[in-house]
Symmetry: C2
Subunit: 209 residues, 2 copies
């Protein structure tokens, strides 16, 4: 039997992830997760309010770290540069959690209820980031827009990192921010070698990152 | 009794909106909406699969018009310029629907289940826009990022238009895209007159748009 609460919590999460992947999310009960961890169902519910939440542990800690990093970023930075610096401050959390979050993504992608929960978590994270940006002097609409753009860009970088893990996450985040800036220009790298804008020499000629 | 189906559908939507605002969304039944429209509950469910959906009619038509506009935008445009042009092509739909969509926003904001549905609709709209962008030669990740950034920017413009309707929607959309670009620079207009970056002469000195 595991001795401390933190260890039980971690073991419940891993047991849940394993069962969800083996049998499917809907087919797995909290009691089974508890049994596979060697604890009672009651213990499961002392750690997590429901079966879904076992996959989203750590979101609160991440939100706290990220909003603190937004507040602590150098004053002179503009909104998206602030987020860029903040994301880099917390990127180690992604690196440490990757063995759990990467297979977790597949479980979430396979279930609409989990997608709903993930989307709600993202919305509340965006709201928290926007609130931290307001403290830096942005209006609420500016802060909300910046938080949405920044978080979408971060997700893009993290997704690329899941696909190409040999490159450092910090590099993927930097590329994602560069890609977001490139979207405003007409000379973005094109798939399929289809030249869209022959008047811009860069069109279609840049390496796909 | 209304004669044609389209008129019944519209009347059901308006009756629903009125009842949701007066009594609350949870407290209103589909049968009451039908009764207030002078039709049977069965007729309600011939038009809408559930009570929530009565608020989201028109999303499919909007999605179709927007994705067609993305496909039809001049080839030379970059991704965000494509979306800017496409949003301007369909803006008249927002203008025509404003008497319904503006009070509808308040009903949605007051109920978590409606917020979930609205968020799911937005996600599927973003996916459709991304798919249309892929047809223009973007990779799926690029297209997804562009669609997310563009739709967040559009929402920002529409929200500003709801608050300041005396200015044309097209102007609000143009300002939103300019604001999104400004977020990448450090000289954004600041709220509260709090100068964040005294070394940049533009900081805090620009008019709030």
């Amino acid at each position: 039997m595991p001795r401390n609460k933190e260890e039980i919590r971690k073991r419940l999460q891993w047991a849940a992830l394993e069962l969800f992947r083996e049998r499917g999310y809907e087919e797995t009960t909290a009691a089974e997760i508890a049994a596979n961890t060697g604890v009672t169902e009651r213990t499961f519910f002392r750690h997590f309010p429901d079966k879904r939440e076992v996959l989203f542990d750590g979101e609160a800690a991440f939100c706290q770290a990220l909003t603190a990093a937004v507040r602590d970023a150098p004053e002179a930075l503009g909104p998206l540069d602030t987020l860029f610096v903040a994301f880099n401050s917390v990127k180690q959390m992604f690196v440490e959690n990757r063995p759990f979050t990467e297979p977790r993504q597949q479980v979430i992608a396979s279930n609409p209820a989990l997608q709903e929960r993930a989307a709600a978590k993202t919305r509340s994270l965006i709201a928290a980031v926007a609130s931290a940006l307001c403290e830096r002097g942005l209006t609420p609409p500016q802060a909300s827009l910046a938080a949405q753009l920044g978080m979408a860009t971060l997700s893009h970088g993290v997704a690329a990192w899941f696909n190409h893990g040999s490159v450092d996450l910090g590099e993927h985040i930097a590329r994602a921010f560069q890609e977001a800036r490139n979207l405003s220009s007409s000379s973005i790298p094109l798939a399929k070698g289809k030249p869209k804008n022959p008047r811009h020499p860069g069109a279609g000629g840049r390496a796909k990152i």
